[in-house]
């Protein structure tokens, strides 16, 4: 039977862990709420941006802008978005797993695969495996449009210069606090939404010229996409942490219950032995 003192120690340690996980769960819940809000708030802009681009893109030749041109995928870049902090269940491992599958696939058919990372977890993981990064950026759990811009700009530059022929992003799509999808999505070349069949493209007046507008709008569209990916990833991180911490808290309560039972049993058996000793001692005396 385990030592009484040891069990007592164990119980108090589990309890203090539980307090931590509980607090983390609360924090994650409130951060999730905020992150979710920003995801929702950012949607109208992103949706309209893609509408505008779509209506613009059907009226220009595909070769007109370098970011619309499709080339053979010889050199591919993958951008992996994870979080900086751990303790969020399988969040980071799942993204990395999906990224690895993608990398292995592409390695066989492409000449070169390069990597960029957002978030400390992906950076550390791939650094240990001797990858070099084109870009690395941290992911402190909040983001801004200008961060999205600074992540996307060098990627666009590399694409325009022909250094890479396609860009993919591995990130977590936010569905709800409980469900998140890991996706690997192509960022470049762009594929503007096609018009529905019954839609007739309207003739527009452009101000300034069509080309100037296109040159201005396309990079912005990519920043917008980057921004919403970052937002979704962050919301997923908080959601994932919340569920992970919730189950950790539940496990801790279960553990405490089990240990308390063990403790009581040990205490009882200690008392029983003691009593037996006293009784047998008394009996020996009276005889």
């Amino acid at each position: 039977m385990a030592n009484l003192k040891d069990i007592r120690k164990r119980i108090s340690s589990v309890k203090s862990t539980q307090q931590i996980t509980k607090a983390m769960k609360m924090v994650a819940a409130s951060k999730l709420k905020k992150a979710q809000e920003s995801v929702v708030q950012a949607r109208p802009y992103a949706a309209k941006m893609s509408d505008v681009l779509a209506s613009l893109a059907v009226r220009v030749e595909p070769g007109k802008h370098p970011l619309l041109q499709r080339r053979d995928e010889k050199n591919v870049e993958l951008l992996v978005i994870t979080s900086d902090r751990g303790l969020c269940g399988g969040f980071n491992t799942n993204v990395i797993k999906a990224a690895n599958i993608f990398l292995n696939e592409k390695k066989e058919i492409c000449e070169e695969v390069v990597l960029s990372v957002v978030g400390r977890k992906a950076r550390d993981y791939y650094k240990r495996r001797n990858w070099e990064f084109k870009n690395e950026e941290l992911n402190p759990g909040t983001t801004s449009f200008s961060q999205a811009e600074s992540i996307a700009r060098p990627v666009i530059d590399r694409y325009v210069e022909g250094e890479i022929d396609a860009v993919y992003v591995a990130y977590t799509e936010f569905k709800s606090a409980m469900t998140q999808n890991i996706v690997v999505k192509r960022l470049l070349p762009l594929e503007p939404k096609a018009l529905a069949e019954d839609e007739i493209p309207v003739e527009y007046i452009y101000e300034p010229s069509e080309d100037a507008l296109l040159a201005d709008i396309i990079p912005r569209y990519i920043y917008t996409q980057m921004f919403s990916m970052l937002l979704e990833s962050i919301a997923s991180e908080h959601g994932s942490r919340m569920t992970a911490m919730d189950s950790a808290t539940n496990n801790a309560s279960e553990m405490t219950a089990k240990l308390t039972l063990l403790y009581n049993r040990a205490r009882q058996s200690a008392i029983t032995t003691e009593l037996m000793e006293i009784v047998s001692g008394a009996e020996a005396l009276s005889n």
Partner: protein, 135 residues
């Protein structure tokens, strides 16, 4: 939808700023201000820093806008902007601070400086916010 109204939607990356029915929109296009009345021909333009004005009945309302795009359809105007604020949302103290900061930096640098243009733009935005808040 009634045929003599325009649906004005303004969105920035962070949020939807406005979604209202209006009678007229006057926007600061990059190549000059333009006005939109119901039934305007489809039109796509870049917007620069300035004041977007919309009319509801005989009431004029102002929005502080920065760089972005406006897509005009017959009865709909979609404006996508880097940033947009309604007059009541503008933090005048903050804008004033931004103005002083930009002015200070501009005084220190020459015209050839790389950031000169950016600081000018920052000053522009701050002045615009202050102007809108005072209307």
């Amino acid at each position: 939808m009634e045929s003599d109204k325009i649906l004005l939607e303004i969105a920035s990356p962070y949020r939807q700023v406005l979604n209202v029915e209006v009678d007229e929109v006057i926007a600061p296009g990059e190549e000059g201000q333009f006005g939109v009345l119901p039934g305007h021909t489809p039109f796509l333009a870049t917007i620069s820093v300035g004041q977007l004005i919309y009319r509801q009945g005989d009431q004029l309302k102002y929005v502080a806008v920065s760089h972005g795009y406006a897509e005009v359809e017959y009865h709909r105007v979609i404006v996508l902007l880097d940033a947009a604020e309604l007059p009541q949302e503008i933090d005048v103290a903050r804008a004033e601070k931004a103005r002083l900061r930009a002015e200070g930096r501009l005084a220190e640098m020459s015209h050839e400086d790389r950031d000169h243009y950016e600081e000018l733009a920052a000053l522009d935005r701050a002045m615009n916010r202050i102007a809108i808040a005072k209307i």
